[in-house]
């Protein structure tokens, strides 16, 4: 009996504690949905996420599928090979809603299967650069004008001198062409902006009276940084995360175009690179445009979400 009432009591406490937060989340959601841009961004992101998670549901074939021969291990006839890349085709002899590329793979299927790697690169690079840049920016700003701040800022200054592409070429030359290196390269160069902007914001926030008020109450530096300053820079950090993610996807696409990306992986950037490599830029728009649009769409989605989140989480705006 007693344990039962105890757990009931616990549940009440839990409800009491979380009730207002749920309420606040609902209010935040309402505010988010008032911006069409944010909703559009979220819709695009959800679609790409679904593509990444369940590609077989959305795509008619896997990337192994070839026009005319399907999954069978035979060769195409010379006429069939000459007809590639094939414009969008329906029904017999094969089904490729966005046409095929020069080796007969369905463009639409490739597009769906590449969503995973795009999201992976975007989120991994964005999160990585936020995880490095935001804490360093917070520390640097909070201990502004001390040797800690100086050290971090001088490191940032030196890193700013690193030119992105040559650095990546060297990195790839040393560590080999693979997606992890690309993510590393992007993160190494993009945390700097995070760090500097978060530092600036922290420098201004730490002069607020509520920080002094927390100090008088006896709060430790850690508590002040993470409980009082961090929540106030998070919206900004999220905007940068979204921007970094978008920039990383674009960077990976341009690296793929330059031939610096892992060519065995499937990515939108690599698809465009292949168009160029096979010299079909002017002849096969069904091959060129869809991956380009996909890159634009996901970068835009991250930006849209970033902007909308800024509105939701900024309590000064209502």
């Amino acid at each position: 009996m007693s344990t039962q009432s105890e757990s009931g009591f616990e549940l009440d406490t839990l409800r009491e504690r979380w009730g207002p937060r749920i309420e606040r989340f609902k209010r935040g959601w309402d505010r988010y949905t008032t911006h069409k841009m944010g909703v559009a961004g979220l819709a695009i992101l959800v679609l790409f996420t679904l593509w990444a998670l369940f590609p077989d549901v959305f795509a008619p074939h896997t990337p192994e599928w070839k026009a005319y021969i399907g999954y069978e291990n035979t060769r195409m006839s010379p006429e069939e090979v000459n007809s590639l890349p094939h414009p969008p085709a329906f029904g017999d002899p094969f089904f490729a809603p966005l046409g095929t590329n020069a080796s007969g793979q369905g463009i639409y299927s490739m597009l769906v299967y590449a969503a995973g790697s795009a999201l992976y690169i975007g989120l991994a690079a964005g999160l990585l650069s936020s995880l490095v840049g935001v804490p360093l920016g917070l520390i640097s700003g909070f201990y502004g004008d001390t040797w800690i701040d100086e050290t971090i800022q001088r490191i940032v200054d030196v890193m700013y001198g690193l030119p992105f592409l040559p650095f990546l070429i060297v990195l790839v030359a040393i560590r080999g062409v693979n997606t992890t290196n690309i993510i590393l390269g992007i993160a190494v160069t993009s945390w700097l902006n995070n760090c500097i902007l978060i530092r600036g914001e922290t420098l201004s926030l730490k002069e607020r009276a509520y920080i002094e008020s927390a100090q008088v109450a006896g709060a430790s530096d850690t508590r002040i940084v993470f409980r009082h300053i961090l929540p106030n820079v998070l919206p900004l950090a999220f905007v940068f995360l979204a921007q970094d993610a978008a920039a990383a996807i674009l960077a990976q696409a341009s690296l793929a175009y330059l031939g610096l990306a892992d060519f065995t992986a499937n990515s939108w950037g690599l698809m465009i690179q292949n168009v160029q490599a096979h010299n079909y830029i002017y002849n096969a728009p069904w091959w060129l445009i869809p991956p380009g649009l996909a890159i634009t769409a996901i970068a835009a989605a991250f930006y849209f979400i970033g902007f909308s989140m800024e509105d939701v989480t900024n309590p000064q705006k209502e």
Partner: protein, 452 residues
Amino acid sequence: MASDHAEPLVEVKGVSKLFDLTQGVTDRLLGREANPVRAVDDVSFTINEGDIMGIAGESGCGKTTLGKLLVRLYEPTHGTIEFDGMDIGALTNEREREFRKRVQMIFQDPFESLNPRMTVFQSVMEPLKINDIGDSYHDRRDRVKEVLEDVGLAPADAYLDEFPKELSGGERQRVAIARALVVNPDFIVCDEPVSMLDVSIRAGVLNLMQDLQDEYGLTYVFISHDLSLIRYMCDRTAIMYLGDIVEQGPTDDVVMDPKHPYTEALFDAVPEIDPEAERHRANVTGEVPDPRNPPSGCRFHPRCSNVIPPENWTGSQDAFRRTIQFKRRVLTDDLDPEEALENAGRDSVDAILERGLALDLPEEHSLAGEDSHAVDPSAIDLPSDAERTLRRAAEQMLDDDPDAAAAELDGEFVSICEREHPEMRETGTRVTACHLYETEERDAVAAPGSSD
């Protein structure tokens, strides 16, 4: 009113706070000395348990810095502050926790002093959490509700989950007060607690603070530029000028019978509500000097109406005041001969003399026929040798050689006020830092117009 036998709770001993001690690169390269801002300079006073101590002064005089020193938001550059017998500059971790629990501060701006991302409940509960008071979430929640109701935010449930932006200024300041009170402190520093509030809710907040003093047994320090508020709230008052405490004592005595010329001027500056009442206006000249480069001796002497002439001065005190005003204008490059000549409309030493000896005072304190730009030197009781010196300096000004004029006057007409920093002296019920109260003879000499 607190009794005179109360135990001292806070003792401030010779505390100074200097800002900008570090030199910039250019200063270091040029070999210039660091020129710090002396925000608080060698201040000593005692706050007794159960007292409300007021600290008053004009903007920029170091009141807020002093308040922040008391709660250890700043470390003093020199001197010590003792709280309940322990030196707060050298606390062990455990003692520091205790100190943080017993000392709180209420800030000026309630729109700034609450974290915009924390609810009222989170804000008020934070000190409890930091100081590890209360056993469970429910314990703390009850305590927070109790305090919120104490500060007049009832029913507390309606406020708990609000964000600061949803509250009015008065409500926010009440939340800030609740945040200070929730740990049951002994000592609260209030830094202009009502100056950002509407006049209509000020009285409510002040009365609340008085009621809470009785209920919680608090000792307050009340920092304000608003003298009527100080008069209303405080048992004892300290008056600050440029980082110095110039006078302190029981509020009634300080208000009714100010000893220090600055205190007098400060109270004269309070506007009179009754339009019929004859207003007594402050008899001071000039602006507050730069705290980076404060005047020597008594900080107030360049503006003071009662500046003490040296022993060998044969003229009147008023003449001496005008003379050092002239000297100061020449030394600080404030006297523009061309402007003086233009105003006078003629080209002569007299014009500069007239301009330099004029005081920028309210009408009631000036001589007949004087305006802020010119005064007739013959109307002033200047000793002839002093007038000769001034004329020589004026001639050099006319020759466009201000350095020679400065050299002429430098070292002349030195008052004790300029030479020596006055010590704190007991005068009746209070202590004041003014050379006027050093000896009885000086007092007689210094009384305006009593000598010539």
